[in-house]
Amino acid sequence: MSTNGTEHLGPELASALASALGRQSDLHVEATSRLIEALSESENKLRRRVEFLSQVVFELDDAGMLEYVSPAWQRVMGEDPMRCLRLPFRNFLREGYRQTFDDFFADTSRTRHTFQAKPERWESSWAKFSIARVPDGGFVGAIEDLFAEQSARSEIEMLSLVASATDNMVIITDARGHTTWVNGAFTRRTGYTLDDMEGRTPGSVLQREGTSRDVARVLGTAIHEHRSARAEILNFTKTGDPYWVQLQITPVLDTAGEVTRFVSIQTDTTERRAADEALRARSASLEERIAERTSELVAARRRAETATNSKSVFLANMSHEIRTPLNAIIGLSSLCLTTDLDTRQRDYLSKVERSAQHVLRIVSEILDMSKVESGVMTLEHRDFSMRTLLEQTEAITLHLAQTKGIGLTVVCDAEVPDFVVGDSVRLQQVLLNLIGNAVKFTERGSVDVRVAVTEREQEHAIVQFTVSDTGIGFPNEMANRLFDPFSQLDNSPTRNAGGTGLGLAISKRLVSLMGGDFQVKSTVGVGSTFSFTVDLALGDAQALMRQDMEKRDLAERGRTRCRGARILVAEDNELNQQVVRELLESVGAQVTIAGNGLEALQQLDAGHRFDAILMDVQMPVLDGMEATRSIRERSEGAAIPIIATTANATVEERQRCLVIGMNDFVTKPVDPDELFQVLSRWLDVHRDRVTPEETTPAPSAPTRDVSTDIIMPNLDLTALEKIVGGDAAKVTRLLGVFMTTTQKTLTEMDVCVASGQIPSVGRLAHRLRSAAATVGAHRIARKCEALESSIGVADAPARTARRVAEMHELFADVEREVARRNQSAELA
């Protein structure tokens, strides 16, 4: 470092010296500045000249790299000029043409070289390259596009061929449109010879009253502007007969690109038009009728679609609205029933629970019906035990029968295979429906269930289920109506037995889905017999046992895994929150509740970490779908298992959840075993990965903040390092994710600014802000905040553009700091 040479002078003298030096230098400074201005102007002038040329002008350095290309490069070579600088010139020649340049380049005795070659990017175009060696080093050159010249030449060749060989009429005119030549076909059709036509414009001879003025004007303008044109026009022969021609006028260019003449090729369309006219007249009435009918059909279809859609939406919504509170009622009642209660309380509460279960069943039926009707009902194919299924069914219904004082027998023939493959839940649903109905309509006697095989082959069997009762029966004409949705025996004294009237309709459709038939026989006052068949594949006993064991194990493992696990429950309904909290806390999980998607995000933003998130799909403020999307966009949210909880249990919903980035799905009301099975899958994977107590740090793993050695004004990694327990490699990885996503976000912002979508910039800034805050890029975070707040103001576009530009600057700084930090981390 040099020292201040004026220190010894004393302050006053030094100041005087400074002023004197200053005044002296001003003149020199101004002189230099004026020289530079003159140089700028001269360079601009030169640049304007070069940039105006249709030829490319280029400059290469000693090594043959492009140092300068004029704007015509884009058109002639098909590449963005700025992207080509500093790249080898030879790369822009097609492979077969590079050698000629290489030879010239290597032979220093040659000063100039001109050759024709094809540019790398164009399929067919030729260009002429002229290159000169500059004595001081490097090369200058020009490229001329030969495409226009070639195409004009080939066009003339083609036209002469056409003109002599065709039956079409051909007229050639000079650049002003005056006829210079006509072919024989023209003379034959019109009666005009070249003598009649020469020196006159075709229009002035051939067009009369009846010719469309508009079409004639379009053709005249095209010729005037030296463009090609195509039209159909009415002309007249020498004897005054009208005829229609389809004509194509093409300008012919010379090598300089100037128009020298026009060629007009004309096809006689008189006959075709007459035929068309006749056909049009004939089909007009038919078309009208078709159009009328089509519009009727379209309207009918639209009405039908609207009706179906509103029904589906209504059902789905209703199902959601009812099932969510029911979930709470059933869950809380059963929790409450496990506590100390007196007899009366227990009785009331049991009734509450049972009633809720009943309502739930009705809702489920309605949902099932809509699923079956819309074709989205899919059956499971799992191994199950037929005898276990029948035992369970009997156990469920025996209580009902006993209460009414009637008998219930279930008999399964020995030939019925025990291990089968199918949808046991749906099969049981049908059986419960039939047995339930039978018990409901029988006052004395018994209900008998019999299961038999009607057909058995190597791999499958047709099994018949028959449910007979000694109840009131019904007249035969009622039999068919029974299976209609919402039909009930209105006059029946047991109408008050309740139900939706959907049970049989659903059962019949389910049986049909399972490849079977339904049959009904009944005699009033004697009883009814309902029977149905299903086609079942034969199963494997071991698979079934394994499956059962696995399920139980999974649920058990889930309970164990939950111990100490941090689980975020995003759920807007307070009661449901409580239910899930109790469930999870009962097995030792740490539960955090978020009332909506936004709160869930805030939990993550606040740096809280979770081993899993249970995400309600429908929530106010920010729903589960949106919340999941946001979480997945964050570096810290990419790996958290998100499990959807929804009462809207459709196949589409499940797919939507998975597509948006959720990992799994639990239906509400939540079944504890199912919940723990699902959790066991995800807690397993996740906790092995990030939970600190399960991570054994490598002995050499740096736990120290690697960045403390470097001053990073734009990046404060303290928080991030805390989150990953000081693991430098994780910090590097997370920073990598942040840099990539931010780069992407900035690009998106640029696009939005360029296309004027200012509010979108705000949303992007919102997204970037929390990520920036997480990695400690606080300046970017603050800039995002400023950006978000400036979206609504009057001069938003200009302000936003400026702030986005600043954001790029900030990001470039962060990028440098991250690079330096990563270097140090590597060294460490």
């Binding site: 470092m1 201040n4 040479g5 302050p11 010296l17 030096l21 200053g22 001003d26 530079i36 530009a805």
Partner: protein, 204 residues
């Protein structure tokens, strides 16, 4: 580089030169360079504000009624003729973005020529603060920055021009000065490079 003996000279940060509606903005080629240079200068200042670096601003302004002997000539006269940089007007006030540094900046208000050392007392302030190294940011490259830089060098200071925090009227001007003229008497470096030097651990 020792932050304790370093001064950052801000040469000409007036509204007429930097603000979006400034009178002199229109004559600058690729005016987005102005915003970029300002953004980088501000960023540099935020880092510098944490260090013991002296920060001095030397705005230029013309008095409406000046004695004929001190009236500007040449380019300065042309600028005054445009009505730019008139004392007491918004155009001559420091650009708003500098406000956040008001407690850090020492302002020398009476510059009337290109050179920040001419009749301003700048040299006394630098001597008082024990400055040995001068960093220059501002505009325009070929006038005020060059004039001030040359004199600083002639007075014996170690001069560094912050090449990403200055701008001239044309791209050519910036290129020629940064590549050919500044190196005759000064170091040229970007603000980031200088920040690295200022923040580097130092053995005194």
């Amino acid at each position: 580089m020792n932050a304790r003996t370093t001064a950052l000279l801000l040469v000409g940060f007036e509204n007429d030169k930097y603000a979006a509606t400034g009178l002199l903005r229109g004559i600058v080629e690729s005016a987005e360079r102005i915003d970029a240079a300002l953004a980088r200068t501000l960023r540099f200042m935020r880092a510098v504000a944490l260090l013991p670096v002296v920060v001095i601003s030397t705005p230029i302004a013309f008095d409406p009624a000046e004695a004929s002997t001190t009236k500007p000539r040449g380019i300065l006269a042309a600028i005054r003729g445009m009505g730019a940089l008139q004392r007491g007007t918004w155009g001559a006030e420091p650009v708003a973005e500098l406000a956040e540094f008001s407690s850090v900046i020492t302002t020398i208000p009476n510059r009337r020529g290109f050179n920040a050392f001419t009749d301003t007392g700048l040299q006394e302030i630098l001597a008082e603060r024990g400055v040995r190294t001068v960093l220059i940011a501002g505009n325009s490259t070929g006038l005020c920055v060059d004039a001030t830089g040359r004199t600083a060098a002639e007075l014996g200071y170690d001069v560094t021009i912050l090449t990403d925090c200055i701008y001239g009227r044309t791209l050519l001007e910036d290129r020629v000065y940064c590549e050919q003229i500044f190196p005759l008497y000064a170091h040229t470096a970007t603000s980031t490079e200088v920040l690295d030097l200022l923040q580097a651990p130092r053995v005194d």
